[in-house]
Amino acid sequence: MPPIDQIIRESQIWKSIFRHPAPVDRRNRVVVMLTNFFLHLHPVSIKKQGIALSFTWCMGGITFFLFLVETVTGVLLMFYYRPTLEWAYADITALRDVASLGILREVHRWAAHAMVITVWLHMYRVFLTGSYKPPREFNWVIGVILLLLTLLLSFTGYLLPWDQLAIWAITVGSNMARATPILGHEGPGAALLTLDGIDMITNASDARFGLLGARFVGEETLNRFYVLHCIAIPLGAALLMAIHFWRIRKDGGISGPL
């Protein structure tokens, strides 16, 4: 009888999934990169220095991996957590004390902190190697937006445990919006927007109200931040990441001396 791995590899099921023999020779190592959906993000071959860790620091890849970790742990946490004033804190306490996989919350939080740091390190490396220079200018711009989205993801997630740390951090953070020029009710120029002596920008219609959904951090805010955190921002980030990765390839792969 042939060895078991050979039987598996030659079965119809395996061959229908992987349309090539094992990547053990040069030809099939090329074919695997071209035919596998997940691997086709990569080029087939790359300059040796382009994968040297002391050059790349691997921080972009790590950030992407952390985003995937956040997605998986986040979806699992969503099964458990209810974003209402009545349940939010209780659910987090239960995750800490009784839920079997409550540790997912720790993984989610620490990976989030780590992701902020790795995004910065990735940006740092890209700057220090001058990799934003032509032809990669626009990919740097997308990267800056992704940096912003990462911070916003972390910021919106900060509120969800609904403890003292959460609401006061968000209160401090969102109080700034009150002072947005023209659009915040305590911002310069807001007084100019009056109609027949009635202020158009008040604490119930300004930028901060739009962010919080209320005059202060309350249930509306929790709901708003939950939707932003779980749906809106991840979708935007996923789209931009797809463009970011695609542009790396189209702009000539990872940078290197000309």
Partner: protein, 455 residues
């Protein structure tokens, strides 16, 4: 007085501190082993027929750390502390100004002496010293309280990661600059042989993912995510802090009103970052580490990132306590610490202190336009300064500085104006900080509370 029992506290931390020193010992022993095995150890001198090398040096350091670990595990962690007098002295000289200017001076020295500081032996010694400082400080109750707060642990990690990667990039840049000066290409051009992504890159990624998963799981098991009391809109914690990555912005609130610190300046940071590829016309340094070929870009970025962004976050996290007052590393966060606030607006300096007249004021019953006119007169010194700063400095830079003139010619008008205004905007923060800390006690350059327009 502190509300804690020193002996009990030391008992609680000695296990951790002991393990900390033992891991430092392991770290140094590994380094010694590596140097010895690879033959990279440099010999220094001979004692009794034995050549003393760097491997011996790090082995000796490892032994010292082992002893220290033993002392801590034996329950005598209190012995391994900085003297109380030294801690008090450090707290005394610490303030926002010493901290920020000190960081700036240290980074400048590191930059100027980079060919010395990037040497592995120097960098390794620096790492050991900073970790030793951490260890000796961890026996201080107040220091330990802040540094080991679960949400602050990532920031400690970030500081070390940033230090490591700054060193790594500078190390490679110094090496490349040397090579380029000798007419060779950068290190990165050596390995331009093409290799297949499967298996080399794909397996690196796989290993990386496994290692990261392990790190995350260990981190999650070892450190519980913070959860405080349930949210209460009536109980305001003191200090109330934004998430750690926004603490640089919160620190700016000391110097700017929220519309600047929270809205305008962050938008400028994002805009400025996006503008970088379009204003950096220098074609050199694309795809390899270098400092000499792009000094201006390097210094500007490092000033913005390391000095203004990172050190302010570190200050906001570790050194700002109740009422956002400044506290030294070893100071108790006392909510009743009183700091004199006697800041003065520029218009008061100008009208009251210099000319000895009152600040101009609109007469009773003046119309809106008329009172705006009076406000403009009152705040004219600041307005003139600000307009001068943004409108006259960029052309003056072109006229009087050879460096900027060359830049202007190469960049063209629009690019140069964007660049110079971004840099002036960035420089405003340290200018405002200095004006506040110095004996001027400057509050606002322009103060128009009537329209929430303070600057």
């Amino acid at each position: 007085m502190h509300g804690h029992n020193t002996a009990e506290f030391l008992d609680g931390v000695s296990g951790f501190i002991g393990c900390f020193y033992l891991s430092l010992a392991a770290m140094n022993a590994t380094a010694a082993l590596y140097l010895w095995q690879t033959g990279k150890a440099r010999s220094y001198f001979k004692v009794a027929g034995l050549t003393i090398t760097t491997a011996h040096l790090w082995l000796a350091v490892a032994l010292i750390f082992t002893v220290m670990g033993g002392i801590a595990l034996g329950g005598m962690a209190g012995l391994l502390s900085l003297p109380i007098g030294l801690r008090a002295a450090l707290d005394n000289i610490m303030g926002p100004m010493t901290y920020t200017l000190g960081s700036l001076v240290i980074l400048t020295v590191l930059y100027l002496g980079r060919s010395f500081f990037v040497k592995p032996i120097v960098a390794w010694a620096g790492l050991n010293l900073s970790l030793l400082f951490m260890g000796l400080s961890l026996t201080d109750y107040d220091f330990a309280q802040i540094v080991t707060k679960p949400d602050n642990v990532p920031i400690v990690a970030m500081v070390y990661l940033l230090a490591y990667f700054t060193w790594l990039s500078a190390y490679r840049a110094v090496e490349n600059d040397k090579r380029i000066a000798n007419g060779q290409g950068p290190l990165e051009s050596e390995d331009d042989e093409k290799i297949l992504v499967w298996p080399d890159l794909v397996y690196t990624e796989l290993i990386c993912m496994i290692v990261l998963t392990v790190v995350l799981l260990v981190w999650a098991v070892a450190l519980q995510a913070p959860l405080e009391e349930p949210a209460s809109a009536v109980k305001t914690p003191n200090p109330s802090k934004a998430p750690w990555y926004f603490l640089g912005l919160q620190e700016m609130l000391v110097y700017y009103d929220p519309w600047m610190a929270g809205v305008v300046l962050p938008s400028m940071v994002v805009f400025g970052l996006m503008a970088i590829p379009y204003i950096d016309f220098n074609k050199a340094g694309n795809g390899y580490y270098t400092i000499n070929e792009r000094k201006f870009a390097y210094l500007t970025f490092q000033f913005g990132f390391l000095v203004l962004w990172v050190t302010l976050i570190v200050m906001g996290t570790f050194l700002r306590g109740p009422n956002w007052n400044f506290f030294g590393f070893y100071e108790t966060w006392d909510a009743h610490k009183v700091e004199a606030l006697n800041n003065v607006d520029l218009s008061e300096y100008f009208w009251v202190r210099i000319f000895g007249v009152g600040r101009p004021q609109a007469p009773e019953g003046a119309g809106t336009l008329q009172s705006i006119g009076w406000i403009l007169v009152r705040e004219s010194p600041g307005i003139v300064c600000l307009i001068g700063y943004f409108a006259f400095l960029p052309p003056a830079m072109v006229l009087y500085s050879k460096f900027f003139r060359k830049m202007f010619i190469q960049m063209g008008f629009l690019r140069f104006m964007v660049l110079s205004n971004l840099i002036l905007m960035m420089a405003l923060l340290p200018i405002k900080m200095l004006a506040r800390w110095s004996s001027l006690n400057m509050k606002y350059f322009i103060s128009i509370p009537e329209y929430f327009l303070n600057f």
